[in-house]
Amino acid sequence: MFIDFFLERFAGEGDKNAIIWQDRPYTYPHLLERISYWSKRLREEKIQPGTVTVLEGDFSPEAVALLLALIEQGCVIVPLTAAVATRKEEFIETAQGEISFIFTPDDQVRIKKLPGKGRHVLYDKLRAEKHPGLVLFSSGTTGKAKAILHDVEHLLQKYKVKRKDFTTLAFLLFDHIAGIDTLLYVLSNCSCLVTVEERLPDIVCRVIEKYKVEVLPVSATFMNLLIFSEAYSRYDLSSLKYIAYGSEVMLESTLKKSAALFPGVAILQKYGTTEVGTLRSKSRSSDSPWVKIGGEGFATRVVDGILQIKAHSAMLGYLNSPSPFTEDGWFVTGDRVEVDGEYYRIYGRDCDIINIGGEKVFPTEVENLIQTFDNVAEVLVYGEKNNITGNIVCADISLVKKEDGKKFIINLKKFCLQHLQPYKVPIKIKIVDQLDLSARFKKVRRKED
């Protein structure tokens, strides 16, 4: 029912490749067969519509087939990847997962019953409508991640219009809204999704050359890395037609250099949030930071310099946080924008959040952890501009009693690496006599200059 339009399109595609995974092609007929297998298996396992189902995997053929089968079965899907390994238990508990499908690196699956009961008023709302759901996580201010619930029936609407067929690289993650958007877009146009094992420039470029990738969705950070690695000079990237970037602000120097390096490629800015999904967008030109965003089902407005979005495909709400919508249903993105006619220039978050290559870091989460480390008196975490990842996390720390600074810093970084996702670990740590409590606000002000 929900995925009929996918299945009809897949059936008309002959032996075309759907997914390249671990350097092996898997065709649309294969994907159809696996969706049918998983639909049957879900019934055999007595997984009822509305069941909160955790899917630990990546863009592998089996995980993709299961994802579609779960949508068809009307389940609530919670995709998780290895990138959130340190927070897996917290996420599963927040989502109240009832059952988990865990994919191994060779695409085998293990099914595990979970203690969660899948109880939530928002889940009840979905079940009453008999619609499938999707739970995604986004950083929360105190370090507790926000669980975002989407109605998949609404999300799928925009893929019902068939668009152009482009071989596309799966750069963004399986548990991110942009990664899911890439997957659904590719499948809805019966294109080929090319996966990579690691998101390093040479690996990505090798795959582009080998499979003649046409669309490369990336982060601004990846473009910096691509330029500094010179990987573009070692491979034939002439198949590329579009580079789509988003999730963080791209420096104008990076944008100009990218446009110069890839003269025949259209470089497009994308915009979206986990709460409202990905909007359709059009950059003024390849080297311009100005972009038109919207598309069917989306409306935008700017209030006090901050972008607000109204979307048909917006989330139902947070499972663990109050509704962020205005009374008239607009989502306040928190992103400061400038307006020029139909075009926006997006400057990013107007608050303490540190954006590291598209990943958000809330200073309080890192401060709360560092505060528990031995001999820390006070700690202040803030962002500092960086030309590769946009920003880096820095920490100023005062100690209870004097000790060897170098050793302390290395031990503290090791401690952080055990407890935080790597991008949240402070890169610069300074030991100070006393904290300048206005420091963070100063940094924020400097960013606005």
Partner: protein, 101 residues
């Protein structure tokens, strides 16, 4: 003005320090030919940023001068200063000369 070999030594000392925090399969070899980033280089994006910040800090401590290694200027070089340790040392020497050190 620091000699090329002093700067190479500074980078190699930084490699030792950064290796302490890197997983075994991501560690950099202590050599002038070690690729910093790209090709068969070992660093990922956060590893690269950590390494660059550590080298910048070491330069500030040792030569009392602030340099930025990854910026528009680095991006506009004909060859990336991060292709290996030797190239990075050469680039730093040039930056220090320009800053009058």
């Amino acid at each position: 003005m620091p000699e090329y070999k002093d700067i190479v030594e500074l980078i190699l000392t930084t490699i030792d320090e950064v290796n302490e925090l890197l997983p075994a399969d991501r560690q950099l070899e202590r050599s002038v030919d070690t690729v910093v980033f790209g090709g068969d280089g070992k660093l990922d994006s956060l590893g690269l940023v950590t390494f660059i910040v550590a080298v910048e800090q070491k330069i500030a401590e040792t030569f009392n001068v602030t340099v930025t290694l990854a910026d528009e200027k680095a991006m506009s070089q004909r060859n990336s200063p991060f292709r290996n340790v030797g190239a990075l040392a050469g680039y730093i020497k040039k930056l220090l000369a320009e800053s009058g050190k």
